[in-house]
C-alpha cells in the first residue's frame, strides 16, 4: 500500500495541468449555483463612496490597465462602470501612466455598458485619454507631479479627449476643471500607484479607491487601515462581490466560481503530494 501511495509524489505534472484545465472549465459549461453573496468591507467601501456621489460632481476613473492584466482588471472595471451608469453618476476616464493602449481598452469596455444605460459620450462620460507620466511605483516618480497638475488644472493637462475633440466642446467638461469637481478618484490597474493616495487623498482630501490584481493587494492593506483608501476591489473575487452589490452577476462572478474549482484542484494536488511524501518516507524507513 505504502509503495503504491509513494508513487503519488511522482505524478507527471502534465496530468495535473490537464486535471486543472478540465475542472476549471466545469463552471463555464454547467451552471453551478453560487453560494449566497456577501461583500467584504474593502469592496463595500468603493460601492458606498460611489453611492454617496452628489449630482454636481463626477467620478474620476483612472484606467491604466490593458490586456496584460485583463484577467482581473476587466471584471473590476466593468463592474464599477456598470454601477456608475446604473446610479447615473457622470464619470471622466483618464489613463495617467505608462500604458498608451489603456484608453482604447477602456473605450471598448465602456461603450456597450454606456449604450445599454443610455449614457451619451461627452454629456455623461468622457474618455480623456493617455497622459505620459513616467514609470509608476516609486514614491518619487514623476507620476505624482503629473497627477498633481491634473488635479489643479484638468484642462491644461488634457486640452482634448482621446479622440482629439477639444475639451471645451464636451458639455460634461464645462463643469470639470479641477479636483474640486471630483467626488472620488478610482484607479484600476495591475498595481495602482500610491502617488494617487499621496496627491488626491493626502493633499486634496478627495477619497481614493483602488482595483488591483490579487497579487498586489497585500501591499495596499495598510492604506485601508489608515483610511487613506476608501476601499479596494481585489481581483475577481472583489469584482464578484461588487457585482453582487450592484445585483448584476457578470464576468467576475463566472471567473470566481471557476477559480474556486481551480483552488480545490490545487489543494487536492497538495494533499495527494503530501500523502505521497509521507508514504515514501515510511517506505524508506521500513526498508532501512
Amino acid at each position: 500500500m505504502a509503495r503504491w501511495l509513494a508513487k503519488l509524489q511522482h505524478i507527471d505534472r502534465r496530468w495535473l495541468y490537464l486535471a486543472t484545465f478540465v475542472l476549471v472549465l466545469v463552471p463555464f459549461i454547467v451552471k453551478v449555483p453560487m453560494p449566497p453573496g456577501r461583500a467584504s468591507p474593502t469592496t463595500r467601501g468603493i460601492y458606498e463612496t460611489i453611492e454617496s456621489c452628489p449630482p454636481d460632481k463626477v467620478v474620476l476613473v483612472d484606467s491604466s490597465w490593458h490586456h496584460g492584466s485583463a484577467a482581473e482588471n476587466y471584471s473590476q472595471f466593468e463592474a464599477v462602470i456598470r454601477h456608475l451608469c446604473l446610479r447615473r453618476v457622470k464619470f471622466v476616464v483618464t489613463s495617467v501612466g505608462i500604458e498608451p493602449i489603456a484608453p482604447e481598452v477602456a473605450q471598448k469596455v465602456i461603450e456597450p455598458i454606456a449604450d445599454e444605460a443610455g449614457y451619451v459620450y461627452g454629456r455623461d462620460w468622457v474618455n480623456a485619454g493617455y497622459l505620459a507620466a513616467g514609470a509608476p511605483g516609486a514614491a518619487a516618480s514623476p507620476l505624482g507631479i503629473i497627477i498633481e497638475g491634473v488635479c489643479r488644472d484638468f484642462h491644461k493637462f488634457y486640452p482634448s479627449d482621446t479622440h482629439g475633440t477639444p475639451m471645451e466642446k464636451l458639455p460634461l467638461m464645462a463643469n470639470v476643471h479641477s479636483i474640486e469637481d471630483v467626488h472620488m478618484a478610482f484607479c484600476v490597474t495591475y498595481c495602482p500607484d500610491p502617488n494617487w493616495i499621496q496627491v488626491v487623498q493626502g493633499q486634496f482630501g478627495v477619497p481614493v479607491g483602488f482595483a488591483c490584481m490579487t497579487i498586489m493587494a497585500p501591499q495596499y492593506y495598510p492604506y485601508i487601515d489608515s483610511g487613506q483608501l476608501c476601499g479596494m476591489i481585489i481581483g475577481n473575487t472583489g469584482a464578484a462581490e461588487y457585482e453582487y452589490l450592484v445585483d448584476y452577476p457578470a464576468r467576475g462572478t463566472d471567473l470566481t466560481m471557476a477559480s474556486s474549482f481551480g483552488n480545490c484542484c490545487i489543494i487536492l494536488a497538495a494533499i495527494i503530494g503530501n500523502i505521497g511524501l509521507w508514504a515514501g518516507r515510511k517506505e524508506r524507513k521500513a526498508e532501512s
Partner: protein, 228 residues
C-alpha cells in the same frame, strides 16, 4: 462584436502558449516572438500618437507654421537634455548623461521627502490601536471584544517584526529571543498570505484564457455553427 478572424488568431496564439505546458516547441516560440514584436511595434506607434505628437511635436509644428503661439517652438529646446540620455550608450561620452540623470535624481529625491511624509504619517497614526473594548462606542460586546483582540494581534505582530529587523542590538539574548522569533513567524505568515495571492493571480490568468477559449471560440464560433 469581435471579428471571427481576431478570435481565431487569439485561439491559435493561446493554444500555442499553452502547448509549452507539454513541452517546448516551435509554435510556442513563434507566438512568443510574435507577441513581443507586436507589443514593441504597437507601443512605439502609440507613444508617438498619444504622447510625443500631441505633447511635443504638435506644438512645435503649429508654432512654426504660425497656427499657434510662437512659444510652442520652445519645445525644441527639450531635445538637448532629452538626447543626453543616449550618451549612456557611449563609453567615451557617458559623463554627459550624468547631467540629466542627476537632474532627475534631484527632482525625484526632493519630491520623495514630501511624498513619503504624506503617505507614511497617517499610517503611524493608524498604528495606535484601541485595546479597551469598554471604551468603544456601544460598550462591551463580542464585536468590540474581537475588534480589540484583532488590534492586539496587529500590535504584537508590528512590534515583534520591527524588533526582528532591529540590528542595532543583539536579539539572541534570553529577553529578546522569543519576541524576535514571534516577529519572524509573523513575517512568514504574511509571506504565506502573499504567496496565496500570487497563486490566485496566476489562476486568474489561466481562467481568463480558458473562458475565452470556451465562450468566445468553442461556444460562440464552433458549437454555434452546428446549432445554428
Amino acid at each position: 462584436m469581435t471579428h471571427p478572424l481576431t478570435i481565431w488568431v487569439g485561439v491559435i496564439a493561446t493554444l500555442g502558449v499553452f502547448s509549452y505546458l507539454y513541452k517546448n516547441n516551435t509554435l510556442y516560440r513563434l507566438v512568443q516572438h510574435a507577441a513581443l514584436g507586436a507589443t514593441i511595434g504597437y507601443t512605439i506607434v502609440l507613444t508617438w500618437t498619444q504622447a510625443l505628437w500631441p505633447n511635443w511635436a504638435k506644438p512645435i509644428v503649429q508654432a512654426l507654421d504660425g497656427t499657434s503661439d510662437w512659444t510652442g517652438a520652445l519645445w525644441l529646446l527639450a531635445l538637448a537634455p532629452g538626447c543626453l540620455w543616449y550618451f549612456q550608450l557611449s563609453k567615451k561620452y557617458f559623463w554627459l548623461s550624468t547631467f540629466i540623470t542627476s537632474f532627475f535624481v534631484g527632482v525625484a529625491a526632493g519630491y520623495a521627502f514630501k511624498a513619503t511624509l504624506i503617505l507614511i504619517m497617517p499610517q503611524i497614526g493608524a498604528s495606535f490601536k484601541n485595546l479597551d473594548p469598554i471604551s468603544i462606542p456601544g460598550g462591551l460586546s463580542w464585536d468590540s471584544f474581537f475588534g480589540c483582540l484583532s488590534n492586539l494581534v496587529f500590535l504584537v505582530a508590528m512590534f515583534t517584526t520591527l524588533l526582528y529587523f532591529f540590528f542595532s542590538i543583539n536579539t539572541s539574548n534570553r529577553v529578546l529571543r522569543v519576541p524576535a522569533r514571534v516577529g519572524r513567524i509573523s513575517l512568514m505568515v504574511c509571506l504565506g498570505g502573499m504567496f496565496g495571492a500570487t497563486v490566485m493571480t496566476r489562476m486568474a490568468y489561466l481562467l481568463e484564457r480558458l473562458r475565452f477559449l470556451y465562450m468566445d471560440w468553442l461556444r460562440d464560433q464552433i458549437i454555434a455553427i452546428f446549432t445554428g
